[in-house]
Amino acid sequence: MKVEFDEPKCVAAGQCAMVAPDVFDQRDDDGVAIVLDATPDPSLHDEVREAAAVCPAAAIRLVEQ
């Protein structure tokens, strides 16, 4: 799995960082998301899929390999 993030779309909701804290965080100043791990371990895939699904800006795209 590869995590693609469209930063200009991010609305800083932080849903991703709550659902998948090992893969996403937020910048301190404006809350825009940061991808900590663009190729997460398979054990994290379910929560990363959940994070992409709850993103209110559809800014997270997953390429499943």
Binding site: G14, M18, D28, G31, A53, C55, P56
Partner: protein
């Protein structure tokens, strides 16, 4: 279960359809959408689309490849007109009907309008594109309703050089949602940006050359945006036996009846976290509830108990709010400085922390409040000690 029908192809319906596939449902999956566009995102309509910063194509919630991977029977431009639960059929405006074993209702809301001709509303991509075309330097725009949508549109129109008058019937905009004090703070920015905010002004009709107010005055404008809230799209469920009352009434599992679930703006469900029935028109709730309804339709039996969340962009203000602020007893500023428009307000109801609203605060300062709410924290356990840890 071999046939699932999802009525409504916006954020909630799409999330439900995706979740059904992700959870292994392999049968027929029909997604019915009234609009002709493939599922798209609505919050940018009153922001980047109205400003002209984004092309409409950027709103697509999924690529064509992602949609086709869901193996949907995608029925766009199809309007559901009736539900026969006995025969398990959804009737369509074209005279056809679609059978189901499981049904998810995600038909959303539509904008309320005023009597008279010619006012814009802002709910669909088409609405936003039409309004955008008519805004520009020197154009006079009257926005009726200073809720979050009206406030966002007023801010964008100002940025485009319009002369904007913002009309609000209540004495303080947003007071019913965020409280009197915060409503005042948030509405101050309009005047600073040259928007003519007039409170205590009820508009009765859109008319030639502007809007008519309750005292018979004409407020002149070239264009009128009516932003006075919305109505759930439930008319098609009349006679279905489902309980409808400002939305489709559901239990804590988003279940309206055996085999029938509802999600998103149209769903009124019992949120066990707050012990209250609610209907939430927030973008994040649409996705989360679509997912929850789909899982419960497949048998998960998990109560849907979210902390609601919304955000709003107005001028350079970024507002984030968690919880269920309506009906609160008390608001208190727990961090930051109101004068600098950088603060966090906490909302109390009974002895519960029920909401937190932040303006210009670092995200991590807000997250702990959300977590406290998710755990059902009492007010005294968090506020007397300051910021929750």
């Amino acid at each position: 279960m071999n046939r699932i029908v999802v009525v409504g192809a916006s954020a909630a319906g799409l999330a439900a359809a995706e979740t059904l596939r992700r959870e292994g449902y392999d049968g027929t999956l029909t997604l019915i959408g009234e609009e002709l566009d493939a599922p798209y995102d609505r919050p940018p309509l009153s922001k980047q689309i109205l400003a002209g910063d984004w092309e409409a194509s950027k709103l697509a919630l999924r690529t064509a490849d992602q949609l086709s991977a869901l193996r949907l029977e995608l029925r766009l431009g199809a309007v559901a007109t009736g539900l026969d639960r006995e025969a398990r059929l959804v009737h369509l405006a074209d005279g056809g009907s679609i059978g189901y074993d499981g049904l998810i209702v995600a038909t959303g809301v539509r904008a309320r309008r005023l009597p008279g001709q010619g006012g814009h509303v802002l709910r669909t991509l088409h609405d936003a594109v039409e309004l955008r075309k008519r805004l520009g330097p020197g154009r006079r725009l009257a926005v009726v309703g200073a809720g979050f949508l009206g406030a966002e549109a007023a801010a964008i129109a100002r940025g485009l050089g319009c002369e904007v008058v913002l009309l609000e019937p209540a004495p303080v905009p947003l007071a019913h949602a965020v409280g009197d004090r915060i409503g005042r703070i948030l509405s101050q920015v309009h005047g600073e940006h040259g928007v003519d905010l007039r409170t205590g002004v009820a508009v009765t009709a859109v008319t030639d050359g502007g809007v008519l107010t309750a005292d018979g005055a004409l407020v002149e404008a070239d264009e009128v945006l009516v932003a006075i809230g919305s109505r759930p799209n439930t008319e098609w469920l009349e006679g279905s036996g489902l309980t409808v009352g400002d939305g489709v009434v559901c239990d804590e599992f988003c279940r309206a009846a055996p085999g029938v679930y509802a999600a998103g703006d149209v769903a009124r469900w019992h949120n066990p976290l707050f012990g209250e029935e609610m209907r939430i028109e927030h973008r994040t709730n649409a996705a989360e509830q679509g997912m929850a309804a789909a899982r419960n339709l497949l048998g998960a039996a998990r109560p849907f108990a979210p902390v609601p969340y919304f955000w709003s962009d107005q001028y350079d203000l970024k507002i984030h709010a968690y919880g269920h602020l309506r009906g609160h007893d008390l608001v208190t500023i727990v961090a930051g400085d109101v004068a600098e428009r950088r603060f966090l307000a906490a909302y109390r109801k009974g002895d519960r922390l029920v909401g937190a609203l932040a303006v210009g605060m670092p995200p991590k300062a807000i997250r702990s409040w959300r977590q406290a709410m998710a755990m059902g924290a009492s007010w005294s356990s968090v506020v007397s000690e300051g910021v929750p840890s």
